[in-house]
């Protein structure tokens, strides 16, 4: 066997894995590169010439930054409500015995096992039948609904892995029920709750299908992008997409560095 072939065989997994990674990253690179484009027509699909115009005034496009603000607002509220309600459910599921556990588990599982378009359509029939005005509140209601299950799953996993003796130890050490919850249960469950909240925020912020059905004339950021795919895609979209990507990566990397430094510092103590 030829040497390159032999090498390829031995490193097949690495090569295949990195190719998949390239497939995953490629669109982000395109988005980045095309944020510096100066397209001639209405659509930003073909490279013309380098320009910093879009970066100089990302909000220069009508309504785009408004939709962005709306999306952030909806995602914030949806995250808050879904996290609180989901955390309560997760605690009840792990810590207590009660009737109809099976039915409740199914009710939590089903929204995750259903194509989004089905939930979107059925929610729309509800709103139409009730004569509800489609807009901010219908979108918020829908987002809370589908984020809820994901929060429950994330928090439940954390609470389940928590040693019940920790709470007993707190009660044994003179902490009443409220103190026990605030000083022991909540801090230990916090990573699970945070994970659930982050997931909820990401899901809500980026949601399109359910929003598409229930937004009426309200335009969230994904709705704006969808519309622009029909009318013409401004370069500023790519600026926003790239900025979101960069901020997220920076936050993750900074978090890694801080926790790494803290661990090293702790390890160096006597």
């Amino acid at each position: 066997m030829a040497a390159p072939l032999k090498w390829l065989r031995r490193n097949l997994v690495v090569v295949a894995g990195l190719l998949t990674l390239a497939y995953l990253i490629m669109p982000n690179i395109v988005v980045l590169v095309f944020s510096f484009n100066k397209p001639r027509g209405r659509f930003n699909y073909a490279w013309q010439e380098f320009s910093l115009d879009a970066w100089k005034d990302p909000c220069g496009v009508a309504d785009m930054c408004g939709s962005l603000a709306l999306s952030l607002q909806i995602a914030g509220w949806a995250t808050l409500v879904a996290t609180v309600l989901g955390t309560l459910i997760a605690f009840a599921l792990v810590r207590y015995r009660f009737r109809a556990r099976g039915a409740i588990n199914s009710l939590i599982f089903l929204p995750m096992a259903m194509p989004e378009v089905v939930m979107a359509a059925s929610l729309l029939t509800l709103f139409l039948n009730m004569g509800a005005q489609l807009g901010f509140y219908t979108v918020l209601i829908a987002h809370i609904m589908f984020c809820l299950s994901f929060v429950v799953v994330a928090v439940k996993a954390r609470v389940m892995s928590m040693d019940p003796r920790l709470e007993e130890a707190a009660r044994d050490l003179y902490a009443g029920p409220v103190q026990t919850f605030l000083r022991v249960t909540l801090p230990i469950a916090a990573p699970g709750i945070a994970a659930g909240a982050m997931l909820a925020f990401a899901l809500s912020f980026d949601d399109f299908i359910i929003t598409n059905f229930n937004a009426g004339s309200t335009v969230t950021f994904p709705m704006f992008v969808w519309g622009s795919a029909q009318r013409g895609t401004p370069v500023e979209i790519n600026v926003i997409g790239t900025a979101m990507f960069a901020v997220a990566v920076l936050v993750v990397v900074a978090g890694q560095l801080i926790s790494g430094r803290r661990q090293r510092a702790a390890a160096q103590q006597p």
Binding site: A16, T20, Y45, P115, L148, F208, M244, V252
Partner: protein, 315 residues
């Protein structure tokens, strides 16, 4: 309470009952209500905004009438039959595209998950970030980027043409002429791309849990690398495979974004039909019936799949 009172003998407290008489104690009612109070708001939300809408949708699907005169429940089950007759190609397409995308996700995602779990070493966290990071850019923007990548006369299409891949895909009916955009292949590429992280993350989680010593044990017991994978690694990663395929297939089967942005009128999926019937044609009964059929098919497939793979406890 101060420290000193703890060590001193406390004053005797009057005893309500003599200790000789056994008294059965029961859990106070208030404590028994706690779980229901915790569950109430969230479950109520799901009942009103998830379960109830399904009931409304069921009722809508058997209504007749028009927008002007209003709709009425007439138990017109024929709508289902008519909807299936008219739109079965879109149903088949949805299942076919979603199925293909799921298989592709598994084939592409497994090596990467394996790489991160077992071979990445100190690069592990960086690779994980790179898998998750694309999420932070709106998926619609990233899907639009595929329009550029797969553009006619672009580098990707040129390369596929030069390698005669397009000849094969043309013959299979996946592509047409010198185009990838607006063909089934473009839609499946988009679906695969969109749901790939949902495959990789559960795969990674289940692979990461596998004890490295098992690989050594398998080697020690005369298993070749291929046999080790087939007999040890893959079976142990089954929970990840199952949840990954579900997390890919379910949303892909109802998706209409990729078909709309990357496809043509010949690649419409059932999601596109539901969307246009609901939001443009305003034929609510047909749209509701289609949505119900899709739900039934997906739930049936998921149930059978979970049963057969023997991973009920995933629920």
């Amino acid at each position: 309470m101060s420290t000193s009172t703890l060590t001193e003998a406390p004053p005797p407290v009057p005893q309500p009952q003599s200790p000789e008489q056994p008294v059965r104690r029961t859990v106070p009612t208030r404590r028994r209500l706690v779980p229901y109070l915790l569950l109430l708001p969230g479950i109520l939300w799901l009942v009103v905004f998830f379960a109830l809408p399904l009931v409304y949708q069921a009722s809508t699907s058997v209504q007749t009438g028009s927008l002007e005169e209003g709709f009425e429940v007439t138990w017109h089950f024929q709508t289902y039959w008519e909807a299936l007759q008219e739109y079965y190609p879109q149903f088949i397409r949805s299942l076919l595209y979603a199925g293909t995308a799921t298989v592709l996700c598994l084939l592409l995602g497994y090596p990467l998950a394996y790489l991160i779990a077992f071979k990445a070493g100190r690069w592990r966290n960086l690779l994980l970030v790179l898998v998750i990071a694309p999420f932070f850019t709106s998926f619609l923007i990233r899907t639009l980027a595929w329009k550029t990548i797969l553009a006619d006369g672009g580098a990707v299409v040129g390369a596929l043409d030069a390698l005669h891949v397009l000849d094969v895909t043309n013959w299979l009916g996946w592509t047409e002429g010198n185009r990838v955009l607006a063909t089934p292949m473009a839609v499946v590429t988009g679906l695969t791309y969109n749901f790939l992280p949902f495959m990789i993350l559960p795969l990674y989680t289940s692979l990461e849990r596998i004890d490295g010593k098992l690989h050594e044990a398998a080697k020690d017991l005369y298993a070749s690398p291929a046999t080790t994978f087939r007999k040890v690694t893959f079976p142990l990663s089954m929970p990840g495979v199952v949840s990954g395929t579900l997390l890919t297939f379910i949303p892909a089967s109802g998706d209409y974004v990729n078909a709309e942005l990357l496809g043509s009128t010949d690649t419409k999926m059932v999601g596109n039909v539901i969307q246009s019937q609901f939001l443009r044609v305003l034929d609510y009964p047909t749209a509701a019936a289609l949505s119900f059929i899709l739900m039934a098919i997906v739930l049936l497939m998921v149930t059978v799949y979970i049963r057969r793979s023997g991973t009920e406890d995933l629920l």
